[in-house]
Symmetry: C2
Subunit: 124 residues, 2 copies
DNA sequence: TAAACATATGAACAATTGTTCATATGTTTA
DNA sequence: TAAACATATGAACAATTGTTCATATGTTTA
């Protein structure tokens, strides 16, 4: 059965390339276009060290904008803009208490993702 | 012990904000600056749908540049540029066989990260 | 109600990024 | 060795992104 190595011409370069079955499997297993974009957008949010730091701070405790700006030594405006991005990605929530707005993590997966990411960058 | 709610002025906005202990814990648990940048850079690589698609295709099998370009319906050049990025991030390897260069995944963590990411974007 | 204050936000700007186009490089084959 | 071919890569360009600056919004307090 696996001795039968059927090959298929790939349109682009006209070379004999992948097995038909692999093409099919890739097309079957590839998630929906929409999901792929959403996934890329999620990682894009993680792809900035300011946002990574904000999230890492929030691992410890909920905090107001001012706290985060202080801890990261950045302007309130810069932090506020980034919190907006994090909120749009549903990674943080906020609650207002008087003048102060407290932010906290909204997703339990984040820590896992960061830990696995850390494994990758430290193991090589 | 926890009745003693010592608070500390945060330099930036002059408001009474976080407990001293939280500030300390954040500073202790925050990874090295270098690692934070590397982590952000890793996620930056995942933050593009073309690269996500390439990786997803490689989940199935190793493939040459031409295969990937065909499957993703993109130019060889665009794929080649992106494979370079993936390789710099140590996410893929390649081997040459004659004129053809085959790429494959170099890291076992990727699938986990993608799966957790997918959970996040689909659960809301 | 005016002043003080925490936060949000729009515009501007520099920096980064993804794709295309043209072409170089490396390998095989006639 | 020249032609064919798969891949890599530099330059250019449009698009996206992060921060700053100025200021608006929302809440409290005197």
């Amino acid at each position: 059965m696996s001795t039968d190595n059927k090959k298929k011409k790939a349109a682009t370069c006209g070379q004999v390339i992948i097995h038909d079955e692999i093409v099919k499997r890739v097309q079957q297993n590839m998630p929906e276009e929409d999901n792929l974009y959403d996934l890329a957008d999620l990682f894009k949010v993680f792809g900035d060290s300011t946002r990574i730091k904000i999230i890492w701070a929030l691992f410890e405790s909920e905090m107001c904008v001012c706290d985060i700006a202080y801890l990261l030594n950045m302007t309130q405006s810069a932090i506020s803009h980034q919190l907006r991005v994090l909120k749009a990605a549903k990674l943080v929530r906020n609650r207002r208490s008087g003048k102060t707005v407290y932010y906290s993590l909204a997703d339990s997966h984040i820590k896992q993702i960061f830990e696995i990411g850390m494994e990758h960058i430290t193991e090589e």
